[in-house]
């Protein structure tokens, strides 16, 4: 018998709810918040998702959505473990990712990855407010078509490490990709940019980034409606 064990804890020890509930609340909350911020208007959507949210609340007996979002954004370290199945062979997925310079194509919080040599790279993440957080990273382990692991070098703005694993998914479904990333504060003092960056990274964001990666690999583009026409009266 194979027992399922989560590979890495998805939740910090200060959070006492299960991962799926948390994910749901973050998805919902993230969406609501994003709309609220973008449109400055939450009413329509809040109504819209009321059905789903009520069911969520009904089934868990909880109503602490905002509190949880607060928890997830105020944490002092971000640890993420997500997986996705991509309908392409492992070697394609591996080689695209191994060229770390491709990463900003689908990770929007990473502005640039400059490859220095076979092992080392320079990473630039952008935090809200146009502030940049930079670090040098080194590949600490890799096996072709299996995994790539990296870690930030000393004296970086932030401690970051990550590992991405590749495996052939059962049932001719292509590649199963697992990403594990950690952002830690170096020492005790955190600069404002780093705090902002940490506050801006969420589960939802990483899931969306993996979704974009899948879209690029499967379809060659990131489907979008940004910039499409819509009926707005002039000046509205």
């Amino acid at each position: 018998m194979t027992r399922y064990e989560p590979r890495y804890p998805k939740t910090g020890k200060d959070v006492n709810v299960g991962p799926s509930e948390r994910l749901l609340s973050v998805l919902l909350g993230g969406y609501m918040a994003a709309r609220g911020v973008r449109k400055g208007r939450l009413g329509g959507l809040a109504t819209a998702l009321a059905g789903g949210y009520l069911m969520y609340r009904g089934s868990t007996g909880r109503c602490n959505l905002y509190e949880k979002i607060g928890v997830s954004t105020a944490r002092r370290a971000i640890e993420i473990d997500e997986s996705v199945i991509i309908n392409r062979p492992v070697h394609e997925i591996y080689s695209y990712w191994r060229n770390l310079g491709n990463i900003p194509e689908f990770m929007r919080h990473i502005e640039e990855v400059r490859v220095i040599d076979d092992k080392r790279s320079h990473w630039v993440a952008s935090a809200p407010g146009g502030i940049k957080v930079e670090w040098d990273a080194e590949i600490t382990g890799e096996r072709e078509n299996e995994y790539i692991a990296w870690k930030s070098l000393p004296f970086s703005d932030i401690e970051s490490e990550g590992m991405v694993e590749f495996s052939t998914a059962p049932g001719h479904r292509g590649t199963e990709l697992r990403v594990h990333m950690i952002y830690n504060l170096p020492g005790d003092g955190a600069s404002a940019p780093v705090q902002r960056l940490l506050a801006a990274i969420s589960f939802r964001q990483i899931r969306e980034e993996l979704r974009r990666f899948k879209q690029i690999m499967e379809t060659g583009e990131v489907p979008t409606t940004e910039g499409q026409v819509r009926g707005r009266a002039v000046g509205e």
Binding site: L28, A48, L49, M55, P223, G227, Q228
Partner: protein
């Protein structure tokens, strides 16, 4: 260009908006020559589908001519006359490869929102709220078609716009609803709702070998149409007890298959109707499953209930005990339009089916708001409305 835009519950406006542009390498721009109003557009109109925004361009059934293509479009060129399936599908994911086009993994840019509601996101749909991608729809002069190579069907000259526009949604939807019934030679199929999808489901059921088709509705004109176009036995649920009548017609056995072509805005009758109205008001239930409940209860033992009507959220008091103890198969889903379009186009070309006889009304695009009102209230025997830009 002119476009029909949603501005709120029962508030549509014809607006002057910029023409759409190519946004992705696999996009095409289509000049619309005819669009149609779908029963599920009425759910948007009546404010039942969440995440609509002011200014959204409506419409997911349209035909026209390609005027521009992106750099990676291979099969289409400006000048091609095309029908556009309402499901936006990438053609490359697990689901598209298995012809489950309406479940495409990659075409919904707001997948995270749909995931919050449904667990996993279905495909994007034109003009069908931001939960389904927020794509601009085709009740306009021009429309952007993403993934053109897996989202366009070339039309032969011999097939008119009126016939072709029904290939974008309602004919495939009716056909899939009937196919989901696994019809055996000689079966009796009961269809709730004699709207366009219901009528085409009835025709399709006959095409697939059903011996008897029963239409259930409350509008005499629609029931008349069902008898005329699909040779259906007509039941008006305002006049007869549907369950009793179905038993009577089928020698006490019940229909072999039941199609719910009504969906979330069923009117219904009696206690169930009041119950749903109250629950809707309290937001504890988003849809009204009257037809679904009746279909499950009426279906014969071991039969199939096929759902073609659109549901958006949660429903209550669905007789699961009946479904379980009678061994009923329940099937449904948004239509995998691309799967059915070519074969239905063949039927139309060969003169074996003419879906366009469900079209009763034609309006100019600028009369869109009136068209929706007429369609909503089924005034003047209205069954299916088309809009000419």
């Amino acid at each position: 260009m002119k476009a029909l835009c949603w501005y709120g519950k029962r508030d549509l406006r014809v607006m002057e908006v910029p023409e759409p542009e190519i946004l992705g390498p696999r996009d095409a721009i289509v000049r619309v020559s005819l669009s149609a109003v779908c029963g599920s557009d009425l759910h948007l109109y009546n404010g039942h589908v969440p995440s609509m925004e002011r200014g959204d361009i409506l419409g997911h059934e349209f035909v026209g001519t390609v005027v521009d293509v992106g750099g990676r479009v291979e099969g289409f060129r400006p000048g091609d006359r095309v029908a556009v399936p309402f499901t936006i599908s990438c053609g490359r994911c697990f689901f598209c490869e298995r012809e489950l086009w309406s479940l495409c993994d990659n075409s919904n840019p707001n997948a995270y929102a749909a995931e919050a509601l449904y667990g996993y996101s279905p495909a994007g749909i034109y003009g069908y709220s931001h939960l389904f991608g927020g794509y601009a729809g085709g009740q306009a002069e021009y429309v952007r078609v993403p993934f053109a190579d897996s989202g366009l069907l070339k039309l032969p000259e011999s097939v008119s716009d009126e016939k072709a526009v029904l290939l974008c949604d309602v004919f495939p939807t009716g056909y899939m609803a009937a196919e989901n019934c696994s019809i055996q030679e000689g079966d009796t199929v009961a269809v709730w709702g004699a709207g366009p999808v219901g009528l085409l489901a009835m025709k399709s059921a006959s095409l697939l070998g059903a011996e008897r088709v029963i239409a259930i509705d409350r509008f005499p004109e629609r029931l008349g149409l069902a008898s005329r176009l699909a040779d259906a036995v007509a039941l008006n649920y305002e006049d007869v007890d549907v369950d009793e009548a179905l038993r009577d017609i089928t020698g006490g056995m019940g229909p072999d298959a039941c199609i719910d072509a009504v969906g979330m805005e069923a009117h219904g009758k009696g206690h169930g109707r009041v119950y749903d109205a109250v629950k809707n008001k309290l937001r504890a239930e988003t849809d009204r499953p009257t037809a679904l409940r009746q279909a499950i209860l009426a279906c014969r033992k071991g039969g199939t209930v096929s759902i073609a009507g659109a549901y958006a959220g949660y429903v209550d008091k669905v007789p699961v005990g009946a479904a379980f103890n009678k061994g009923i198969t329940i099937k449904g889903g948004q239509t995998h339009v691309q799967k059915y379009m070519p074969r239905l186009l063949n039927l139309v070309e060969d003169g074996k089916a003419d879906p366009s006889d469900v079209i009763t009304h034609s309006f100019g695009l600028e009369e869109g708001p009136i068209a929706y009102e007429v369609f909503k209230h089924k005034e003047d025997g209205c069954v299916k409305v088309v809009l000419k830009p």
